[in-house]
């Protein structure tokens, strides 16, 4: 019998833990309990075929608005507002602020596809940035023969879709078990995107009930709901971001737009555009329930976001500093587990082609 491969076998302070108790929290790196098991199975199945070079690419930013959606804006019409970074720094002291980002590595082989994901949260404390990370590992295959011989390798008609669903569930589990009440949660990516978001909407609404304010950030979107919904903007711009870039000066945000899905009213959100540097603006999204409950402090939150993007700098890639830090931790923890070495140990490194991507 082959000796089982054990990657993480002991607790070492707060750095690496086996996820037996699902004891999430900050200053910890949690390894999913199935991590070792999947590796064992891969080794036992002895996958050793040449790789298929998969050019997987998906930009979810373009499908964040349904064709059945309806867009409205404030009674005051299309406007721009100056942001106040000083107010933003003061607001930081009022509520705990946490950011989420992730890093994912995908490996394709002839037998299936492996996904390593690092979910990352960063908490801005009074003196430091404190991380929490959660590592997961999935292997998907269409081969029922392989699935029948294993407990943890998953059958999937479409590994991309299934991986996204699993990833979203893990993300929700991680956030729900880690993010503290009465905090602001900054999440890189759109509120509504693709099919997997349906798993996310209800938890987001529940977060609002726990006094957590989730805020979503969208960059590089080609959406055109604003310019196609407002008569005066039609045919003048390539995208909403193009329009926002022309409308806004540095250090300004647009008015709020209210979007509601006619089919599923839960899929509603409020968003505005923010321009910090003389480069592409970003879209800031709130769920409608969140916006309704916290509309009094939303301007303060936007000031805080403005400050966080300012302090991070980098006008080529404007980013909230806290999210940038969460992203760094996500990448670092993926690097930490040295996937190449792990796969080599289980005997599949030469057969896999690695590709990093993000949702």
């Amino acid at each position: 019998m082959k000796k089982n491969f054990k990657l993480f076998s002991k607790r070492e302070n707060n750095m690496i833990l086996e996820d037996n108790s699902f004891n999430f929290g900050f200053n910890k790196l949690i390894i999913d309990s199935k991590f070792n098991d999947i590796l064992d199975e891969l080794k036992n199945i002895n996958i050793s075929l040449p790789t298929v070079n998969s050019n997987f690419k998906q930009d979810l930013n373009d499908i964040t608005f349904s064709k059945n959606g309806k867009l409205t804006h404030d009674d005051n019409g299309i406007n721009s507002f100056n942001l106040n970074p000083e107010n933003g720094t003061k607001f930081i002291e009022k509520k705990p602020i946490i950011a989420y980002d992730e890093s994912i590595n995908r490996f394709d082989s002839l037998e299936g596809t492996a996904f390593f994901a690092s979910h990352s949260l960063a908490l801005l404390s009074s003196t430091d940035y404190i991380p929490a990370n959660y590592l997961t590992f999935y292997f998907y295959t269409k081969s029922k023969a392989i699935v029948n011989r294993s407990k943890y390798i998953k059958y999937a008609e479409n590994p991309e879709v299934q991986s996204k669903i699993d990833y979203t569930k893990d993300k929700i589990k991680f956030i729900n078990n880690t993010v503290i009440k009465n905090s602001i949660l900054l999440i890189d990516g759109p509120l509504i995107a693709g099919d997997a978001y349906t798993y996310f909407i209800n938890p987001i609404i529940k977060m609002t009930e726990r006094n957590i304010i989730p805020v979503f950030f969208v960059k590089n979107s080609l959406s055109d709901i604003v310019i196609s919904s407002i008569e005066s903007l039609k045919d003048k711009y390539n995208s909403d971001l193009h329009w926002a870039f022309k409308l806004l000066k540095n250090g300004q945000r647009s008015n709020f737009f209210h979007y509601t899905d006619a089919v599923n009213p839960k899929n509603s959100k409020v968003f505005c555009y923010i321009k910090v540097f003389n480069s592409s603006p970003q879209r800031i999204e709130f769920h409608s329930e969140t916006f309704k409950k916290y509309n009094q402090i939303i301007p303060d939150i936007l000031d805080m976001i403005y400050y966080q993007i300012l302090v991070q700098g980098d006008d080529n890639n404007p980013q909230v500093r806290l999210i940038a830090i969460a992203e760094k931790y996500a990448r670092a923890t993926l690097k930490l587990i040295n996937i190449d070495k792990i796969l080599k140990k289980v005997g599949i490194t030469p057969t896999l082609n690695q590709k990093r991507f993000g949702w």
Binding site: M15, P85, E86, T89, I92, L124, S125, S126, T127, D128, Y129, Y307, L310, V311, Q312, G313, D314, R321, I325, L336
Partner: protein, 527 residues
């Protein structure tokens, strides 16, 4: 406080401080890293602060208050692994794995890394970073010390530093150790002021910190018991400077006993070849005088007359070399004039009736420190001759195994006695001593403000180098990555070192010498 291993680059292990570390670990510090059954000691070579979240200049322009989290700094250190304690038998060396955790080393670990020396002059291990020098402490704040190996004395030592940097105090400290712990003899040349003339009495420190340092090392200030100051009979030691008259003795040079080679010490600005003629001329005269005069008119003044008379013989002199071969030599007019001029200055040092001449019997006494004060008028010439003469006697005595007492020779400002470009011949017995010190138990400490003052012929045989505050770029060759600024800002007593058989040690602080340093008086003098 912990530092986490990042990895190795160019032979150095990089580490970054963890959250519990709130400061920069200075260069010269030691870290201990434990990994499985192995333990490693690392020495910090470079240390710097790293700002993970430095602010965008725009934020500064907007005069916005900083977030404390954005001001967080980490300390990144580059270290050498100086000692591995592992038990591999396969001929390989262990990896130091990334993310291994290191902590400050304690005394026991540093002792192990430094070879567990139980004996030797004790010094504090120190650190130097930016313009700050600190004594190294363990995690509990206790000062860390090290023993310098005793055998370093016999592999020759160089002490360099600016005035007031601590080189004389360090020399005194080492000399006292040699006398008291090694039960050896010390011969020192005092070239200025009263630098080495008060070692019969305990030091008087100015600050409590010095007393604490002594206490930490279990030391008490005290003078050297068997201590004597010799000075040329034609000069005076200024007793107003509080030098104990009772331990001072006048000495003279005896033309009958003087080793001819010693006269080279008189000559300056002439070539080695030219200078080498004088001993043979003198030897011939000396031997002839012994036979002919039988003591009558056997004086240095007579030799001067004999020499000056050479002008009538067309500068031609009879010679006798060390092998007993007689010959004749014709001096160049310039060489003749130079020698004649120097004789005028030196005549006063010879044949003084109220003084005696000393030899190796006076020096090679167990537990005795002998200081020859040449700080007076024309003292350099006197020092040059007597130093050569005594070195010759000592080498001979040691070679013939007449004495087994270890001896340490302290030569301050060596360039005053030996030309920096002196050949092996001109260095004479000093070169012999330096090369045979280990077998004969003879050590030399050269002290100088400038490394370039050391005769080039000797630099290759000096195995221990101690640099106090200095602007000498050569100090960098000791293997310590110090900026010029850091070298120049070393505090008194702190030194960058390369110690024989103790290459792991780089920054140290000498304790204040237990004798002969009156800091209170120095302060008053300055006022």
């Amino acid at each position: 406080m912990n530092w986490i291993v990042l990895g190795e680059k160019n032979g150095k292990i990089s580490l970054v401080s963890d959250r519990s570390t709130n400061g920069i670990l200075p260069k010269g510090s030691f870290l201990t890293l434990e990994q499985a059954n192995a333990k490693y000691i690392l020495r910090v070579e470079n240390s710097s602060q790293h700002e993970a979240y430095s602010p965008e200049p725009l934020v500064i322009d907007m005069d916005l208050a900083p977030l404390e989290a954005d001001r967080k700094c980490r300390n990144i250190v580059e270290t050498y692994r100086i000692c591995d304690f592992n038990y591999r038998s396969d001929g390989l060396i262990n990896y130091i794995k990334p993310q291994s955790k290191a902590r400050l080393s304690n005394q026991e670990e540093i002792d192990m890394a430094l070879g567990n020396l139980e004996k030797g002059p004790k010094v504090f291990i120190a650190t130097a970073q930016y313009n700050q020098n600190q004594l190294l402490r363990d995690e509990h704040g206790k000062l860390i010390t090290a023993n310098l190996p005793e055998e370093m004395f016999y592999h020759q030592t160089l002490i360099c530093g600016k005035t007031g940097s601590g080189k004389t105090v360090a020399s005194k400290y080492l000399a006292q150790y040699f006398v008291e712990e090694l039960k050896g003899a010390v011969l020192a040349i005092n070239v200025k002021d009263i630098d080495l003339l008060q070692m019969d009495r305990p030091s008087k420190p100015k600050t409590e910190a010095i007393k604490n340092e002594w206490e930490n090392m279990g030391m008490d200030p005290h003078g050297i018991d068997n201590y004597i100051i010799y000075y040329p009979a034609n000069t005076e030691i200024s007793m107003t400077k509080d030098v104990n008259e009772e331990i001072c003795e006048k000495i003279t040079l005896d033309v009958k006993q003087i080793e001819p080679e010693s006269l080279i010490g008189l000559l300056t600005n002439i070539s080695d070849v030219g200078a080498m003629n004088l001993p043979n001329i003198f030897r011939k005269w000396q031997e002839d005088s012994k036979e002919k005069n039988k003591g009558k008119d056997f004086t240095f003044n007579n030799f001067i007359k004999y020499f000056n008379n050479g002008v009538n013989d067309n500068y031609e002199f009879a010679t006798l070399n060390t092998r007993g071969e007689e010959s004749n030599i014709k001096l160049h007019r310039g060489t003749f004039d130079n020698i004649a001029r120097n004789f005028d200055m030196a005549a006063d040092f010879f044949d003084n009736v109220d003084a005696r001449s000393i030899n190796e019997q006076d020096i090679l006494v167990r537990g005795k420190m002998s200081v020859i004060d040449v700080a007076g008028k024309n003292g350099t010439q006197f020092g040059s001759i007597i130093l050569r003469n005594l070195l010759h006697d000592i080498v001979l005595a040691k070679r013939e195994s007449r004495y087994r007492i270890p001896i340490l020779i302290l030569i301050d400002e060596v360039h005053m006695f030996y030309n920096e470009n002196a050949s092996f011949e001109a260095l004479g017995d000093l070169d012999t001593i330096c090369r045979t010190g280990r077998s004969q138990e003879i050590g030399v400490i050269f002290s100088s403000q400038n490394l370039r003052d050391i005769p080039k012929g000797l630099s290759s045989v000096i195995n221990t180098k101690i640099f106090f505050k200095s602007d000498i770029s050569e100090a960098k060759t000791l293997g310590v990555n110090m900026s010029q600024q850091e070298l120049e800002s070393l505090r008194s007593g702190f030194a960058i070192v390369s110690i024989h058989n103790l290459s792991q040690l780089k920054v140290i602080k000498f304790p204040l010498a237990l004798c002969g340093v009156d800091e209170m008086e120095r302060t008053n003098d300055k006022r």
